[in-house]
């Protein structure tokens, strides 16, 4: 199934364009998507994930056409 994926912040995800459609298996969770995209563990703990504009926990199962957004804040203030 397809999801729409975008990310903000200092993330660089090898081989994945920002604001693009991704193929994921049915039943994939947010945690599973982290694995599929090879997100580094030190980044995973600071990333907020929004699905269709609502913040969701890592156990959330993705659905067809979900708009998934990763946000990794940068330091300074």
């Amino acid at each position: 199934m397809k999801i729409f994926f975008e990310y903000l912040g200092l993330l660089h995800i090898e081989g994945v364009k920002n604001k693009t459609f991704l193929d994921v298996d049915a039943g994939t969770t947010i945690a599973g998507l982290f694995g599929q995209l090879k997100i580094r563990r030190e980044h995973q703990k600071f990333i907020s994930v929004f699905i269709n504009d609502i913040e969701k926990p890592r156990t959330t199962i993705l659905n067809e056409n979900d708009r998934v957004k990763f946000f990794l804040p940068t330091g300074g203030g």
Partner: protein
């Protein structure tokens, strides 16, 4: 107190938001570069109550971007900031917490606020507050966070973007203080974005 008048303080503010601001309650999570500048802007705008949270004391290295003075060094940031805000508006209500924001106290501290301003400098603290906003308790409140305020120049790369239904982010989402340092102009631009978004949100609230 030199003939203070709330009406006079807010006389030149936008008439359509005046009444809402006098009754507004805004939380400031972190009273450093972003937080002190946001608090100044909101106090000058006539916001009725601020909830200030910061565990730290003023250090001389803070003076390059934070609204403190040499005479404040060593003071609790929440105390030094409160003093200054009361010099702008002696009628402003201020609730102070000299503590770290944790999963255990965040709901209690921000129970009555309409909008929270995330003004921390550490990524871990920013992420922690964002995580708290994923809980149902915060669904009816707004969070205005900041990311990418470091360095100098590139003024127009600092923008306000919608992250989620009730969460906005101000900054360029790229520049990091570890590599670029933090300086007054860009921090103040980002703080201006945050304060301005807070006013917009308060104007929209019933």
């Amino acid at each position: 107190m030199k003939n203070f008048s709330y009406e006079k303080l807010t006389e030149r503010n936008s008439p359509k938001i005046k009444q809402k601001l006098s009754e507004a309650v805004v939380g400031i999570a972190g009273c450093g570069g972003l937080g002190s500048n946001v608090a100044f802007a909101l106090a000058r705008s006539g916001v009725g109550k601020l909830v200030l949270v910061d565990f730290d004391v003023v250090d001389i290295t803070n003076l390059n971007r934070q609204q403190f003075f040499l005479s404040d060094v060593g003071m609790k940031k929440v105390d030094a900031l409160s003093e200054k805000l009361l010099q702008i508006n002696p009628q402003i209500k201020i609730e102070k917490y000299q503590s770290k924001l944790t999963d255990n106290n965040v709901q209690t501290i921000f129970a009555d606020v309409q909008v929270v301003v995330e003004a921390f400098d550490k990524v871990s603290e920013k992420a922690s507050l964002l995580k708290a906003f994923g809980k149902s308790f915060f669904k009816a409140k707004f969070l205005v966070t900041a990311s990418g305020v470091a360095g100098f120049g590139k003024s127009n790369s600092i923008q306000t973007k919608k992250l989620a239904q009730n969460i906005f982010v101000c900054g360029d989402n790229k520049t990091d203080f570890l590599s670029e340092g933090v300086m007054a102009p860009r921090v103040m631009i980002a703080a201006g974005h945050q304060a301005n978004k807070v006013l917009e949100l308060l104007e929209q609230l019933n």
